[in-house]
Each structure stands twice: as structure tokens, then as C-alpha cells.
Amino acid sequence: MTMTTEDLNIPGSQSTPRILTDWRAGTLLMQGDSYPENTFELFGPVIAWVETYLEKGEAPLTLDLSLIYLNTSSIKAVMDIFDILEAAHGRGRNVAVNWYYDSRNERVAELAEEFKEDCTFPFSILPQKD
């Protein structure tokens, strides 16, 4: 039996994304804008959850992201998360990112593309379904 840790369910706000984890399904969802002044408070628990998930189990992890605008501080935090995924991928772990964008705003896909450049794990940039 795999040990689980408490899932995160953080409602979104004007300047912070909605964050939802599902340990059993192996998913982390983040959607919305992210531009808080201090990203440590927001992303600290997310980074801890990802690290614990990857340490304690063997199951795959998928990030479903519908992030729109990120301030530079949030970009740095998201890059930290991708670095953790990259290291896990290097150890043979099954990890993936799906980044959904609204095709009306090309800045979102450009942002995702720049992240993808530095990642070797499966990273899909997909138009928003609705």
C-alpha cells in the first residue's frame, strides 16, 4: 500500500491560480493568473507535494496547467517544479505536462514554449477545449 500525503485544494484568487492535487490519480492541476508578490507562500506547498509524491511512490505524475499570466517570480517557481520533474524523468519516472492555452492570446503559448525548451519529458501545448 502506497503512503499518501494530504492533497492540496487551494481556491484561485485575482492574483493566484486554483491549485488542485489528486494523489490517487497522479495529477496536479493549476489554472488562472499567478502574480502574487511573494510566490514562496503559494508554491512552497506545491513543490513539497510534488517532491513527496515522486519520492514515495512509483506512479506517473501529470501536470494539467491552464496558467495564463505569470509574473517573473511565478515563472521562477514553475521552473523549479519543472526541474524536479526533469530530474525524476532522468531517473526513469513517468512524468508529463499538458499546458492548455487560449488561442486568442499568443503570449500564453509562447510562455509554455519557452518552458518546454528546457524540458525533455513529454510536454504538450494544447489549445483550450472550451
Binding site: S15, E37, F40, Y69, T72, S73, I75, K76, E106
Partner: protein, 180 residues
């Protein structure tokens, strides 16, 4: 301020094509509130979504830079005041300007950095941005670790313009102007 001066102030804003401006002590919540007003304004103006994102991002990075600077220097309300102006220039480009009081030496260092950024083309700015992104954060800071100016430069259609106006006591007013 004299009551009759309000009209001339308004006329000045109109002639300078100023859409939104703020002058005073700035807080985390105020940055957000002005940001909402700015987003709504850009939406109502039917700005292209990419341009609206660039204007909004420039405003956020500039005002958060000011907040980080004033709080890290323990500035009070008076010194921690920010002046933020969003407008348009003659060729219909959005412009974002922000200014605050800094230690003169810090202001001079910033001017040097911005002058150096002005020499870089878009590809060089991207490379510098990626390099900065890979640098470790200063301990204890949740900020963007020096990425803000690079991000603003990349979103701008012209090099950033910075000015330093000397004040008393080794301090100066630093202002930064970006054309989107």
C-alpha cells in the same frame, strides 16, 4: 491643492494621453486593485490580448519591483511612494512608466543596467533572461531575482528609458519608461 487646479490637471492628463495614473503609498492590495482597473480598461479599449498582457505584465513587474525595493530598505509610507502612469504615445503604442525614491548609488547602478539592456536585441534579451532564470535566488526573497527588467525589455517595442533626478540625502527619484 486649489480647487480650480483640478481642471488643469485633467487637461494635462488628456493632452499627455494618460489613461491611468497613481501617485502615493502603494500596497500589495492596491497593486492588485489598480491591476484590475487596468485590465478592465484594456478590455474595454479592445486592446489585442497580447498587447493587454504585455501592458499588464509591465505594470505588475514595475510596481512589484518598487514594493520589493521599498520594503527591503525599510522605507516608510512617504519614501515608499510610487508614481505609476499608463498612457499612449503618438504612434498609439501603450506606455508604462513608474518611479520611486531610491538610494542614489542604487539608482546609478540601475541606470547602468538599463543602458546595457538597451544594446541587446530580442534574441540576446531572451538569452540573458534564460541565464538569469537559472541563477539561484537571493536567500529569503520570493521575488523574481532580477528577471523583472529583462521581462519588461522583452515585452517592449523600444529600449527602456530610465532617468535619475537627484534629491537630498544621497537619494534620488528613479523613473523607468517602457513603450509596449
Amino acid at each position: 491643492m486649489e480647487a480650480s487646479d483640478l481642471y488643469s490637471l485633467r487637461e494635462h492628463f488628456t493632452s499627455q494621453r494618460i489613461l491611468l495614473c497613481f501617485n502615493g503609498p502603494i500596497s500589495r492590495s492596491l497593486i492588485e486593485e489598480i491591476g484590475i482597473a487596468l485590465k478592465n480598461y484594456l478590455h474595454a479599449e479592445q486592446a489585442k490580448p497580447s498587447a493587454a498582457t504585455d501592458v499588464f505584465a509591465t505594470y505588475i513587474e514595475m510596481s512589484q519591483n518598487i514594493r520589493h525595493y521599498s520594503t527591503s530598505h525599510g522605507y516608510g509610507d512617504l519614501e515608499g511612494q510610487a508614481t505609476v502612469v499608463i498612457g499612449r504615445d503618438e504612434s498609439e503604442h501603450y506606455t508604462v512608466s513608474a518611479g520611486n525614491v531610491v538610494e542614489t548609488a542604487d539608482g546609478e547602478a540601475l541606470i547602468g543596467r538599463i543602458d546595457a539592456l538597451a544594446l541587446l536585441d530580442k534574441a540576446q534579451l531572451k538569452a540573458a533572461y534564460k541565464e538569469q532564470l537559472r541563477k539561484p535566488r537571493e536567500p529569503g526573497t520570493g521575488g523574481g531575482a532580477g528577471l523583472g527588467l529583462l521581462d519588461i525589455s522583452r515585452r517592449s517595442s523600444a529600449p527602456l528609458v530610465a532617468r535619475l533626478t537627484r534629491l537630498a540625502d544621497e537619494r534620488a527619484f528613479f523613473s523607468l519608461h517602457a513603450t509596449i
